[in-house]
């Protein structure tokens, strides 16, 4: 007899060791997320995937599924809270979509569309953040970094290079590069690294292909991320 959890009234089965997110993705149930990518070790930092389990808020991407769990996912309250978190991400960085090559392929933007975000709502922080164009093939724009650490995980766990890390604390947290100068061009980073293609936003961009797919024909221009993700297509690839 297989084990099941219930998400918004729908029973889905899972295997031992799966998280709520794993089970949901396998059953093509969308739970909003940004720092989660099934290829990498769950992180649990963005908190978009917060769901209610027996009245308690937990991160779906890190919480192991257990038999009989009742999970609330698509509720108005949760979506309002998730929208607030997306708004927080927008104001803490410098996310100027019209200036960004990733627009239309950006998961931050796509999740915001999905949650019907009409305004960032909070006052903008406009933090000074560093841009690094030193690498011949890859551009690093920390203005758009949401600190999800997907690049950190990809470089460490897949590429075996540890090119990225986080330094600072709290609102001063920042992405750092593993080289004496701190510049990407002086690190061992290569455009073929997995870490070059995992950024959910436009913080890590591959040079010379920004507009090969025009605005209007991009992943999330016509199809919401909830649909893209549940159709099994991996979002966020730099196309």
């Amino acid at each position: 007899m297989s084990k099941t959890i219930t998400i918004d009234g729908t029973k889905i089965s899972f295997t031992e060791g799966q998280t709520i997110m794993d089970a949901a993705l396998a059953a093509k149930v969308y739970i909003p997320h940004l720092c989660h990518n099934p290829e990498f070790k769950p992180h649990g930092s963005c908190k978009l995937c917060t769901v209610n389990v027996n009245g308690r808020a937990v991160s779906a991407c890190t919480m192991p599924a257990s038999d009989g769990m009742e999970v609330e996912n698509k509720t108005e309250t949760l979506d309002n809270e998730r929208r607030a978190i997306v708004q927080m991400l927008f104001v803490e960085g410098n996310h100027l979509c019209p200036t960004c090559e990733k627009s239309g392929n950006c998961q931050l933007q796509a999740v915001a569309y999905c949650l019907g975000m009409m305004t960032p709502h909070y006052n903008h922080f406009y933090p000074p953040r560093e841009i690094d164009a030193s690498h011949p093939d890859v551009f690093l724009d920390r203005n758009r970094c949401i600190l999800c650490e997907l690049c950190v995980r990809a470089s460490r766990d897949v590429d075996g290079k540890n090119v990225f890390g986080l330094s600072g604390r709290g609102i001063g947290s920042r992405l750092v590069v593993n080289s004496a100068s701190g510049r990407l061009g002086d690190s061992t980073f290569a455009v073929t690294d997995r870490a070059a293609k995992v950024c959910p936003t436009g913080a890590i961009l591959i040079k010379r292909q920004g507009f090969s797919v025009p605005i209007g024909s991009r992943i999330y221009d016509h199809k919401p991320i909830c649909q893209v993700e549940t159709e099994g297509k991996s979002g966020g690839e730099h196309e």
Partner: protein
Amino acid sequence: MSEVKKVRIATCSLAGCFGCHMSLLDIDERLFDLLEVVEFNRTPLTDIKHCSPCDVGIIEGGVCNAENVHVLKEFRKNCKVLVAMGACAITGGLPAMRNNIDLWDCFQEVYRYEGGLEGGQIPNDPELPLPFDKVHPIYEVVKVDYFLPGCPPSGDAIWKFLTDLLAGREPKLDYEQLHYD
């Protein structure tokens, strides 16, 4: 028989590019339908210079200087409902790209170092609006009731938004109409 009272709308562009106004014109022949039910007060289209009391004010562009604040406050005072239209009004937009450049450096670059400006002076004429340290979205300066994102929002998005608003519905864009770029 008295005519139905038309909804009075005012619009303006602050620190923006008028792209949103161009997009407003992109509703094309539906403008005629619109004019059946609305009349335009202060707008770049009518060339009326100051707002009278209006039902709806639509602002394009963010706030980058002192004059923007005067205009914005005039709108807020006169308009029952204030709408932020486009990326600049909602996030600061492209002009906000200067927010992490020191204002002094901006002035130097524009008035001192730019080619052909040898001995150039920083202008100090009182007629010129004085810039802020940073560009702000309008909701950080006055209370804003509705937001219509896009750079610019498409004609269809503007049409959907306005028809909802005029019909007394909470404006709601379809998925493909909601864009930040």
